[in-house]
């Protein structure tokens, strides 16, 4: 049957790679020629990686954190401080930031992950706020609300590029690495354990799963990649300040992209970033000048409609539709 054939066609690996390659070539061509497109590509890839990383704890393990900007800010501030004050390469700073975020996530995980539902979410929001306030109120280290400028010295070793195309590749590489890690998780024991924990903790325990350890591990992995995203963003903007690097919108957007795309699925965050980030930027461009905040109203409406009509997210809804159709055609032919 046609649908069945379409699915088998798309499940062939070379088809997937071909589609990705064609899209990438087109995107990069426009990325080189048009700065606006390049800027969008950078945001898409950056958000793709961030959402994918958030998905480990928020989607797979089902622990709804809205405080991930804390790790983002830690990554951004660590590499920036090391580079601006000590001249240490942001590549190294990025790893230090990731390690620091991992340590913080470990502590936060043990403290908070026994909380359930809204209580966990509130605790993570509060934690991120504390981080923002700390960054604003320790001027001796962070220069407070004034922020820190990163000296513009373009070089690969400094993770600073002339023009935008270097950043397109940087964020693309970031998204790809996080994708590979998540694909590994998705297909192996950890992914099954996290999904099991999301569905029912008592049942997971009865099958020998150490629920607390696995949740903390998911939080740490998630934090590491969000922190790396923070470093990349600050190297792109060349400036860090508490209200931007610790802005609540980052946490919210990571969660929204995944909820829109499909929680706990490998392709959900990718779809979410591919669709929502350009819409958000487009709306900002078209409506931002007309009426303060109008683009956010429209964006919010789109999200509410999605959650109402596709509570499982775009990817999972579509996948299940195709699957149930193929199953029906199979049973017509005397299969399952």
């Amino acid at each position: 049957m046609p649908l069945n054939k379409i699915e088998t066609f798309f499940s062939k690996p070379w088809v997937k790679y071909l589609i990705v390659a064609v899209l990438l070539v087109i995107a990069l061509y426009y990325g080189v020629t048009k700065p606006f497109i390049a800027h969008n590509l950078i945001l898409i890839f950056l958000y793709m990686g961030l959402a994918q990383a958030w998905n480990i704890i928020g989607g797979y393990a089902g622990q709804l954190s809205l405080g991930h900007v804390a790790f983002f800010g830690i990554g951004a501030y660590t590499s920036t401080l090391l580079y601006a004050n000590l001249g240490i390469s942001p590549w190294l700073g990025m790893l230090v930031g990731a390690a620091l975020a991992a340590a913080v996530a470990y502590g936060l995980g043990w403290a908070c992950l026994r909380l359930k539902g809204a209580y966990l979410t509130l605790a993570t929001i509060a934690f991120a706020e504390v981080m923002r306030i700390l960054a604003a109120n320790f001027p001796s280290i962070t220069k407070g609300s004034v922020g820190i400028g990163i000296p513009f010295r373009p070089a690969l070793a400094n993770m600073i590029f002339r023009g935008k195309i270097g950043y397109v590749f940087l964020s693309l590489g970031f998204a790809f690495v996080v994708y590979l890690v998540c694909r590994y998780i998705d297909r192996n024991r950890l992914g099954y354990y996290l999904a099991s924990i999301r569905e029912d903790e008592t049942t997971s325990t009865s099958m020998g799963i150490n629920v607390a350890n696995n949740k903390v591990l998911a939080m740490v992995l998630s934090a590491i990649f969000v922190a790396i995203g923070g470093t990349i963003y600050s190297q792109y903007i060349l400036f860090v300040e508490p209200t931007s690097e610790f802005a609540y919108e980052w946490s919210l957007n990571m969660a929204l992209l995944v909820i829109f795309g499909g929680m706990g699925s490998l392709y959900g965050p990718i779809l979410g970033a591919l669709i929502l980030v350009p819409i958000q930027e487009f709306l900002r461009m078209m409506l931002g000048g007309a009426f303060q905040g109008l683009h956010l109203v429209v964006f919010g409406t789109v999200l509410i409609l999605t959650v109402l009509f596709m509570p499982k997210g775009l990817y999972i809804t579509v996948r299940d539709k195709i699957r149930s159709k193929t199953r029906k055609t199979l049973s017509d032919e005397g299969g399952i």
Partner: protein
């Protein structure tokens, strides 16, 4: 002896759910646990499995003192259980539900998938392996509970009312399943309200009443015991 609970008590605030209970189970046995509602049967399972800490006493499983240990450690030592109120991982498929348990044996996904498939074949759910667990009927969910318990390759399995709510055919199938589990060399401790089931599968029956052991013995002995008739079975009980 695979399981020994010595002098186990459990109280919730003022209520004494278990009172100085001694229970022992030999390797390869099927032991039934019966008693009126609120007698403490599920509480005893929870204490044995580590889900509740006993107020006094200790639990020895397979030579290890497991008193107060986490349920996941107890599960890893080889004690599996099913839940009276079924707890499937609703969003996952039937196969994935069982795979989660099978992963205890190794990290290879492919190998785990095969193992889980074998387990599903044993309990007769293999044809439904790609269904979402949330779409199963009650009988299917109870079977899935058993499959998940078997997936961790246990030495002892605690079955908590796996037949409640099933029709006569399904009960018969489950009895066959219990015999199959025993043939694999797994010891079974089973709570059940359906008397003819308990009587036909158990080697030994323990009767709880108000958190105390009323008596224990072979099925024949206990249905003729006056105390059991008074507390649980009722006058003129007859195994129909």
């Amino acid at each position: 002896m695979i399981l020994e609970a010595k002098n186990v008590s459990k109280s919730f605030l003022g209520l004494q759910a278990l009172k100085k209970l001694d229970v022992s189970i030999n390797k390869g046995e099927i032991v039934g646990l019966i008693g009126p509602n609120g007698a403490g049967k599920t509480t005893l399972f929870n204490v044995i499995g580590g889900y509740l800490k006993p107020s006094t006493g200790e639990v020895i499983f397979d030579g290890h003192n497991i008193t107060g240990q986490h349920p996941y450690t107890v599960a890893r030592k080889g004690m599996a259980r099913t839940f009276q109120i079924v707890k499937p991982l609703t969003g996952l498929t039937v196969l994935e539900n069982v795979m989660v348990g099978s992963f205890l044996e190794g990290t290879s996904t492919k190998h785990t998938q095969e193992k889980a498939g074998e387990t599903l074949q044993q309990v007769g759910l293999y044809e439904k392996r790609n269904q979402t667990a949330g779409n199963l009927t009650l009988a299917g969910r109870k079977r899935l509970e058993v499959a998940r318990a078997l997936a961790i390759k246990p030495k002892l399995i605690l079955l908590d009312e796996v037949m409640a709510g099933l029709n006569a055919t399904e009960v018969q199938q489950t009895i066959e399943l219990i015999h199959l589990i025993r043939e694999k060399g797994i010891t079974i401790f089973i709570i059940e309200h359906i008397m003819h089931v308990i009587m036909s599968v158990s080697d030994r029956v323990i009767i709880l009443n108000y958190g105390e052991k009323l008596c224990e013995g072979t099925p024949k002995e206990i249905i003729n015991d006056k105390r059991v008739i008074e507390a649980y079975l009722g006058e003129g009980f007859d195994l129909a």
